[in-house]
């Protein structure tokens, strides 16, 4: 007979260290090697098995020590010295030390052609490979067993926060070599991953990989008894059960076959709050309405853009279509980000003013094509079509003709909006880490990008301001600069219309407690206390 894992060995009112946590995941992990991953479902699994040099304070987006206990930048902000935690071992027994760190960086930096495409996080954050022009990463030196020096090309606000990203987790050099972790190939339209990424991930994290049952769509992790971190795992086993359908996840939770799942549908929140442990995360995202004046010349006029903004009843939208805790956005970043400008007031819903602005601009009764995605649900936009409908109704109320343009998310929506092909479109962003550049930079640093700021007279200045601000080493000076930029963006530029920030939630059954919700979806599931 099969061995049902013994989940009732020790009673105890709170917590059960032999317990299994069954977690409903919305998708299968793409790969087990986080370096080649770029999606949340994969990272959720990685985060339980791996640690980076830096990490995040539970429940926040703030950088916190992880495998490095401390770090100091040089005065020019280009050389960083990390002190490493000692006595740490990878799951396979390989010791973690400065040598291992540098081997990891070397591995990440020296990707073959396919790997350079597959490791998207490195590409976007580090800007290149093998010392290519513009690459941020410049080298790693092991000063001694527990000291590492990393050089970067220019000072930037995101360093070293980005080292906390799961993609840059520390992996066992032995295992990387043994299972040929870098032997990635492009074949057909996809990548063929090496054995390492398929079945042998080895990190230093609290949970160890046990199995990925592809026929049953479950990933099983077990406790790493040698875990060196502070939060010791409180569960023996963590099983990710992949249930793509949202309603199915909810029903599985109700039926008790899973203990928790991510991204509950906001309409279910009230019920989940009542019957289960609904953990609401701090909002760390932004929903905006992108505008592109190159595609739609009407939008060149600031008055038109403002009119569009005033015409949207965002209070109503937030109240009726977004989860509780969602808020109307005043700028292109959520509150918690350094550089957020508290003094900015939201554009109030004012249809009269919108009409007036439109007539001033001579664009009363203008028409606009509004794009929105289908086949997708995102934390910042749980139901795009409903948001679209609300905005459409608002705009029509001020005499704007709205042509809907729905497009499947992966069926061209992303490419076309990101390539600056859409006049007005719904889009959003969830932060990777707590830097203003992660928001503003992502939207505007490319003058020819999605909102094509380069097409405006102020575009060039704006782009330059952004990159200057990012290079300021001093945190408070940097924050101040960003506050100014935010104010400019909202009052003078208004290249797009930030709509709202919504707090996503994660839900556990009443039996489970002890998991702190994280704005970065960096939940430490291993700290769950399962009361079975």
């Amino acid at each position: 007979s099969s061995k049902r894992s013994d989940s009732n060995a020790s009673g105890g009112a709170k917590g059960n260290t032999n317990a299994t946590l069954n977690f409903g995941a919305a998708g299968a992990p793409g790969t087990l090697d986080p370096f080649y991953a770029s999606d949340g479902e994969t990272f959720r699994v990685s985060r339980q098995m791996f640690q980076g040099l830096t990490g995040f304070k539970p429940g926040t987006a703030e950088v916190a020590p992880a495998l490095a206990t401390s770090w100091t930048p040089s005065s020019d902000g280009k050389t960083w010295t990390f002190k490493l935690k000692t006595g740490v071992k990878f799951h396979d027994g390989t010791p973690f030390n400065a040598d291992a760190v540098c081997k990891n960086f070397k591995r990440m930096d020296s990707q073959n052609a396919a790997g350079q495409q597959a490791s998207e996080y490195w590409l976007t954050n580090m800007g290149g490979y093998n010392g290519a022009k513009g690459e941020l990463y410049q080298g790693c030196t092991a000063k001694d067993a527990s000291t590492v020096e990393i050089k970067i090309a220019r000072p930037t606000s995101k360093f070293p926060a980005l080292l906390g990203l799961p993609a840059f987790s520390m992996q066992s050099p032995t295992a990387l070599d043994k299972y040929k972790a870098n032997d990635i190939k492009a074949q057909g339209e996809g990548f063929v991953y090496p054995a390492y990424a398929n079945a042998h991930p080895v990190g230093t994290g609290p949970m160890k990989f046990q199995a990925y049952d592809k026929t049953n769509k479950t990933v099983t992790l077990v406790r790493n008894d040698d875990y060196a971190g502070d939060e010791k795992p409180t569960i023996a086993k963590l099983v990710f059960q992949i249930i793509p359908d949202e309603t199915a996840r909810k029903q599985a939770l109700s039926a008790g076959t899973i203990d928790g799942y991510d991204l509950p549908n906001p309409v279910d929140w009230p019920a989940l709050k009542k019957d289960d442990n609904l953990e609401i995360r701090p909002a760390f995202n932004i929903l905006y309405l992108g505008l592109n004046s190159k595609v739609d010349p009407n939008l060149k006029d600031l008055k038109v853009r403002q009119a569009l903004y005033y015409a949207i009843n965002r209070d109503q939208l937030v109240k009726s279509l977004l989860p509780s805790g969602a808020s109307v956005a005043t700028q292109f970043m959520p509150k918690t980000v350094a550089g957020y400008n508290d003094s900015l007031q939201p554009y109030k819903y004012d249809p009269a003013k919108a009409k007036q602005l439109l007539s001033e601009a001579g664009k009363s009764g203008m028409s606009i094509t509004l794009w929105y995605p289908t086949e997708v649900s995102r934390p910042y936009m749980p139901a795009p079509d409903k948001i679209f409908n609300a905005i459409k109704a608002n705009w029509e109320a001020v005499g704007i003709k709205v042509t809907p343009k729905p497009l499947p998310w992966a069926g061209g929506y992303v490419t076309q909006t990101q390539n600056g092909k859409a006049s007005a479109y719904l889009m959003g962003w969830t932060g990777d880490y707590d830097t203003p550049d992660n928001f503003l930079g992502s939207f505007f640093s490319d003058p020819k990008g999605q909102m094509t700021v380069g097409a405006y007279p102020w575009g060039a200045t704006f782009v330059k301001d952004l990159s200057d601000a990012d290079s300021i080493v001093d945190e408070s000076a940097r924050a101040a600069k960003y506050e100014t930029i935010n104010k400019q963006v909202m009052e003078q530029y208004l290249p797009g219309l930030p709509i709202s920030s919504s707090p996503p939630a994660i839900v556990f059954s009443k039996k489970v407690s002890g998991v702190t919700p994280s704005p970065l979806t960096d939940e430490h599931l291993w700290t769950a206390k399962v009361d079975k």
Partner: protein, 336 residues
């Protein structure tokens, strides 16, 4: 007979070839694609373009097709980009196949076990209460959308009454040994009977949901064909011979009445895969239907291609088998 099989197989190959061509051209001409699905909103246009280049997606479609055929000839059908990234599309198919087969077989068993007796007795008591009742039931069965039924079933059996699991193929905390990946069978092979039982429990609800339409159709065909056969002269002959009721029912009525039913079962198999897309989505049942649905939303071309081609092939093969089965029961076809 052999010639007939050969002929059908050759036709199937032709059909598959044309299908693969159409499929390939069509998929590539869609907007968006796997790169969008993989990179999401994060990547810059440059990143996207570079990735398309690396993956060869920017080549002209005929070039891509030739490459695909070349690879396919070498047994390489590409790797998944979305359903289970990096997995060979064909092994993905093999991984998911057992689940769907298991589900379909269960559904067909449920459908047959209920539809045939019910159809027979409805025809026997033509116009009676049982007849009218079951006809209405079958018509309603056809009219209820499968996914809605799935929800309702789950709502009662899993959430309200906690009788059966709402999702998945096997309880995750069960450490079952895998042999064939047919879980019920595996449990029997390894004598882990609780694993079999657990798998069966996971199968019941989706199988019921999946079985409704085949049930309704098989029921209707059985009823109609039993009605026909009952009117046949040879049944009257059998009665005139004074044969016992059992012999008349088995040898003379049912054996003949089953002929159209067998054909229908073949046609139903195509429908089952269709139903599986919905059922497996509703029940998070990790089979081919689920993979298909995911492959569509993630624009996973290689997987889509393999799954659709395999579905077509499977359909052809199953219907060939059905024809052969038909030939076994119907001597008029066999002795050609």
């Amino acid at each position: 007979m052999l010639r007939y099989i050969l002929r059908r197989l050759l036709q199937a190959v032709l059909v598959l070839f044309v299908l693969s061509l159409l499929l390939f051209a069509w998929l590539r001409s869609l907007p968006g694609g796997p790169v969008d699905a993989m990179l999401g909103e994060r990547a810059t246009p440059e990143n996207r373009a570079a990735m398309r280049k690396t993956l060869g997606l920017d080549d002209p479609i005929p070039v891509q097709y030739l490459r695909f055929v070349d690879n396919a000839i070498h047994g390489n059908f590409g790797t998944s980009t979305g359903v289970q990234s990096g997995t060979d599309a064909f092994s993905l198919f093999w991984q998911r196949l057992p689940a769907t087969v298991e589900l379909s077989v269960f559904a067909i068993i449920i459908a047959l076990a209920t539809a045939i007796p019910l159809g027979y007795f409805a025809a026997k008591r033509h116009g009676g209460l049982l007849d009218t009742g079951s006809v209405v039931l079958s018509l309603i069965g056809v009219a209820v959308p499968v996914f809605f039924l799935g929800f309702v079933l789950k709502y009662f059996f899993s959430i309200e009454w906690h009788l059966l699991p709402p999702t998945g193929r096997q309880s995750p905390d069960l450490n079952a040994t895998r042999v064939t990946n047919f879980y019920v069978l595996d449990g029997l092979l390894t004598r882990e009977f609780d694993a079999s039982w657990d798998a069966i429990k996971h199968l019941i609800l989706p199988a019921i949901a999946l079985a409704t339409i085949p049930f309704a159709i098989i029921f209707r065909i059985t009823r109609a064909s039993v009605l026909d056969v009952l009117n046949e002269d040879y049944v009257r002959t059998a009665e005139a011979k004074g044969l016992s009721r059992r012999v008349i029912r088995g040898r003379h009525v049912l054996r003949n009445a089953m002929l159209p039913v067998v054909t229908t079962i073949g046609l139903q198999v195509g429908g089952l895969l269709t139903g599986a897309v919905l059922t497996e989505t509703v029940f998070a049942f990790p089979g081919l239907g689920d993979a298909l649905a995911t492959a569509f939303t993630t624009r996973d071309y290689p997987v889509l291609q393999v799954l659709i081609l395999m579905a077509a092939l499977g359909y052809v093969i199953v219907n060939l088998l059905v024809d052969l089965a038909y030939a076994v029961i119907d001597p008029r076809v066999r002795t050609r």
